[in-house]
Amino acid sequence: MARWEPILDEVMRERAPRLLAYANLLTGDATEAQDVLQDALVRTFSRGRAFDNANLAEAYVRRAIPSVFIDRLRKRRAAERAHERDVAIGGRDVPVTDRDVVMDVRAALAALPPQERACVVLRFYDDLTVPQISAQLSLAEGTVKRYLSDASGRLASMLGEDVDASTEATLPVVTPGMKGVRP
């Protein structure tokens, strides 16, 4: 058995629930979350890096998830992207009377275009700065700011609360590399 296989097995068996939950934030779809996680695992373990433990491997997999998510988006056909835009446009028009539904932050996220969703997750869940998001998703900083600004307005509408999308650089509370580390 290759040296990386036991770590891969451990990550998939023991760390998959949190990784899938994280991927689900981005995808809004459990099945697609599994596909994203699978690609992230392949990408991470194919690099040749020798992981000494599952914590480190999990952290790398977790960091790969948003990139994989965006890459998958970019590969989709134009028709699919158009469909996603339609969904997003529909999301903007969710009436206030359905607030009970969209109070679910997952539903609110799902109503965002995927790129905006990824920026929101990295900004508000991972606490990354705009430059960090820009680097991770290979997007221009101006594009990230625009996505965050647009998404904030929509989320505020759907969630019924202000969403501060300040793009001021902040120090991350938890560094991405340590996010998966457990005591």
Partner: protein, 505 residues
């Protein structure tokens, strides 16, 4: 913001309770493992395109090659050794053992590699020409395959029949379906590389069809030490019956070794998955098959003692040269003709032939970090490369023939050319008074502070050295304060062209 952050955190926590890691692993582990193994195989064969090559992909030279144990094992020049060749009997498709394989796309030139699972190397390459699939097998034999009525291409390789389906009219395989995909592998022991008793005898465990070395094995006391080419070392104690059971390339395969007092090794391929019992006995001088009981074809092994003949290209060596007075201080060695070796004397600060020419200069670790961030994104080894502005070194080799070559950080004369004919190597050496006094060893899977890689298809091979601790002094020489040279070589399988350039100062 805090409200949204809390909601997102709660959503993750809640979802995490609903997801079942075991189910996910059971459903997807095989697929992930297979894809990882294929990518690692493609990279370790030195043929990965940009999308396949990552940090460490070719960074650590031949030590990471599947056949490193054979190439870099104890085989002192001039000592007798045994060379084995393997042939696979033809058989009806139904009798052919299954083979776990996969195509890997190399890049934009419509070239794919056809590799076994479990990181054992490349079996063939293929590309489209005018609607036909042109396949070149590992012996260099080329065949043109017409599509069948259903649009599939059926390929026979080494006794295995494989059917691959490519998208009609497209240059990339959209769907790939291989026949005979159950993971069965046969392997054999290659005879000891040295039998004079002066050094530990080691055997190469070689995959039968491709000839790729899966691991090397040697005795240490009563234990059998198996060094896997894919990484990892197993130290095995004898079983109750005196055999050693080894698991390689996943859990499906088990090998049992029996070693008697005469140095005779018996390798039994346990038929855990195939039901076969293939007994191959390898003697210390002339291996032969003593017993074969199998329901599937097994390779025949022909072995002949051979004595290495010095070639025009230098053999790889990182051993210190010994001077005539017995000291281990390196001295110019007349038999050293590779700049990758201790004792090599440079007659100029820069040398290159035609399009084989290395370029290089000092840089900083900070600059290397920036390059890695650009190349590898969030996979960049930022924890390994400092950000201090310290002096580091960068070299490029625009050999113009990287595609399909074995790319290593080792002397290209050291790699085998029976899988892919051409090889390219790029590394650094420490030089004092125009003589090599320090080299970067490539026996191990990791060379400190060195990455050799290419920025995508068609890009030059580039080497980065940000930590000179990876330079091992030749003998008692010191590498402190030594000049740093980039050394490069290209091989077409018959000769090696070297180039170098002083990059320090």
């Amino acid at each position: 913001m805090s409200g949204l952050q809390e909601r997102l955190g709660a959503a993750v926590e809640m979802d995490a309770l609903d997801f079942d890691g075991s189910s996910f692993a059971e459903a997807r582990f095989g697929a992930v493992r297979g894809r990882v193994a294929r990518r690692r195989a493609a990279r370790s064969a030195g043929i990965g395109g940009a999308s396949l090559v990552g940090v460490g992909a070719v960074a650590f030279g031949a030590g990471q090659m599947p056949w490193s144990g054979l190439v870099l094992g104890a085989n002192p020049a001039g000592s007798p050794s045994v060379e084995c060749t393997t042939s696979m009997p033809d058989a009806a498709a139904g009798d052919v053992p299954d083979l776990a394989v996969a195509w890997t796309e190399l890049g934009g030139n419509s070239l794919w590699t056809f590799s076994q699972e479990h990181g054992t190397g490349t079996l063939a390459t293929a590309h489209f020409e005018g609607g036909f699939l042109v396949v070149t097998d590992f012996d260099g034999k080329q065949s043109t395959v017409e599509p069948g009525a259903d649009g599939t291409y059926t390929i026979k390789l080494g006794g295995y029949e494989v059917t691959s389906t490519f998208a009609d009219g497209q240059d990339t395989p959209v769907t790939v379906a291989e026949g005979n995909t159950a993971p069965v592998m046969t392997a054999e022991l290659v005879a000891p590389s040295s039998d004079d008793g002066s050094s530990p005898v080691s055997w190469a465990i070689q995959e039968s069809t491709s000839g790729v070395v899966l691991a090397t094995a040697r005795m240490e006391g009563a234990n059998l030490v198996v060094v896997e080419s894919a990484g990892g070392t197993q130290t095995l104690e004898p079983q109750g019956d005196g055999t050693y059971v080894v698991q390689l390339a996943g859990q499906e395969y088990r090998w049992a070794f029996t070693i008697d007092g005469q140095g005779i090794v018996t390798m039994q391929v346990d038929g855990e998955s195939s039901g076969s019992e293939d007994i191959v006995t390898v003697g210390s001088a002339t291996p032969s098959i003593t017993s074969v009981q199998s329901s599937v074809p097994v390779p025949s092994v022909t072995c002949e003692p051979v004595t290495p003949v010095p070639s025009a290209s230098a053999s790889p060596s990182v051993e210190p040269s010994t001077s005539p007075d017995g000291s281990s201080e390196p001295s110019p060695a007349t038999d050293v003709d590779s700049p990758f070796q201790c004792g090599f004397v440079f007659d100029a600060d820069e040398h290159g032939i035609d399009d084989v020419r290395a370029f290089g200069a000092e840089t900083t670790d900070t600059a290397i970090r920036a390059v890695f961030a650009d190349w590898y994104g969030n996979q960049a080894p930022t924890t390994e490369v400092g950000d201090t502005g310290a002096i580091a070194y960068h070299a490029t080799l625009d050999a113009g023939a990287l595609t399909g070559a074995q790319v290593t950080a080792a002397d290209p004369a050291s790699v085998r050319h029976d899988v892919l004919p051409n090889a390219v190597g790029l590394s650094f050496v420490a030089v004092r008074d125009a003589m090599v006094v320090g080299v970067i060893p490539t026996e191990t899977n990791h060379a400190t502070g060195l990455v050799v890689d290419s920025d995508g298809e068609g890009g030059p091979l580039e080497a980065f050295l940000w930590n000179t601790d990876g330079l091992t002094a030749c003998g008692t020489a010191s590498v402190d304060g030594a000049d740093i040279y980039a050394v490069a070589g290209t091989s077409d399988g018959s000769a090696v062209d070297y180039s170098w350039i002083k990059v320090s100062g």
